[in-house]
Symmetry: C2
Subunit: 199 residues, 2 copies
DNA sequence: TATCTTACGTACCCATAGTTACGAAATAAA
DNA sequence: TTTATTTCGTAACTATGGGTACGTAAGATA
């Protein structure tokens, strides 16, 4: 598994460490308020080192977003795609969204939501990735609702695309509340009421 | 009405013009992505002139927020306090939120919502004003719901504080959708479904 | 040992943004 | 006309942040 010894000076930059640090900072602080210099201080990496590894600020953010997708978005997709009742999925969504972040050692709020509101301040690579992810999320919601309707578990008249926007908006609202310091129990209450609507 | 002639060089800085320009920029672009220098270019005012008039970046933002309150938040409070049925008020909220901004010559989205998400990047004066306004908004929703319940127009079991957060979240979501380019008709659909929940 | 290759990191460049020092200009009062 | 007063705006200062030039270190190969 070890890569054969290559020529030249061996690389010492810890890619994963830098990436995880960047992710946590972007997530916990804000994707547009954490400088490369800050990441350097926190990881001990040098600026040129980070640029060699990620190409640019945009590249680092993009890589962090990709990590975030694996970490926080895939579980969401999993809930929506899992073979379970509409009601069970909604409950799982509430539970997932209002997890105790502190206990999990993970920041509150949602990096993806933050990047969407900061869309205009992101580099092209990250920005376009955000757009794609948005599509992916809305699509996942839509397929989920479609399935629920076809199974007769959801008889709401709302069009599927509007319903997808609706669920996405609820999630966004929950993340914003979390950032504003509303406690998770209250957020869960709000979400349950919001999700009760469509059934 | 004209102020008596005062000593010293007469003031030439057009306060209202600067304030309105700043408001529209903060609103249309983002409160944290418009520099004083930009406002200067747009209004012809000089930097020291603006500092003399508003004290600081924080002061200008705070003044702009105050203007925004009069322009966009008071009408909201008016809807909530007006003597009308719960259903009528909800309809009015939807209509107000999804007005054709272009036709009104006003940016899409909501400066107050934007400032809330940017809370950490605001100066102390603006930041604290934002906090106060948030209280004011949540309070207005709460009184409104309380009244509706006491009138028997709303029988939802949701606690009043959670309901206030709920409506606030819906509004925030709508503003975000508007910024992301979702058309007002779709937003109205989503909002109507969201508001249908509590009745 | 000499050379080629690759990565390292200090120190810098440049642009932007908030802020202000300060001399000039304009007006009323003396 | 001189003086006191008030505002004006150019040109700076300082800090920050994205990005990089370049000489050096560390290993493989010859």
């Amino acid at each position: 598994m070890e890569k054969a010894e290559k020529r030249g000076r061996p690389k010492t930059l810890e890619r994963e460490h830098v990436l995880q640090t960047a992710l946590m900072q972007y997530w916990g602080v804000s994707p547009t308020d954490v400088s490369i210099g800050e990441i350097c201080k926190l990881t001990g990496a040098s600026k040129p080192g980070i640029y060699r590894e990620f190409g640019s600020d945009d590249g680092l953010k993009c890589a962090a977003l990709e990590s975030y997708r694996s970490l926080a978005l895939l579980p969401l997709f999993d809930i929506l795609k899992r073979d379970q009742s509409f009601a069970a999925a909604k409950a799982a969504l509430v539970a997932f969204t209002t997890q105790d972040r502190e206990a999990l050692g993970v920041p509150s709020g949602c990096l993806f939501v933050a990047m969407r509101t900061q869309r205009g301040n992101l580099g092209s690579a990250t920005g376009e990735r955000v757009d794609l992810l948005r599509e992916e999320v809305l699509d996942a919601y839509m397929v989920w609702i479609e399935t629920a309707k076809s199974r007769g578990e959801c008889s709401a008249q709302i069009p599927n695309d509007a319903a997808a926007l609706y669920f996405d908006a609820q999630n966004g609202g929950a993340m914003r509340m979390q950032k504003e310091g509303v406690d998770n129990a209250t957020i869960a209450t709000v979400l349950r009421y919001a999700f009760k609507m469509i059934e």
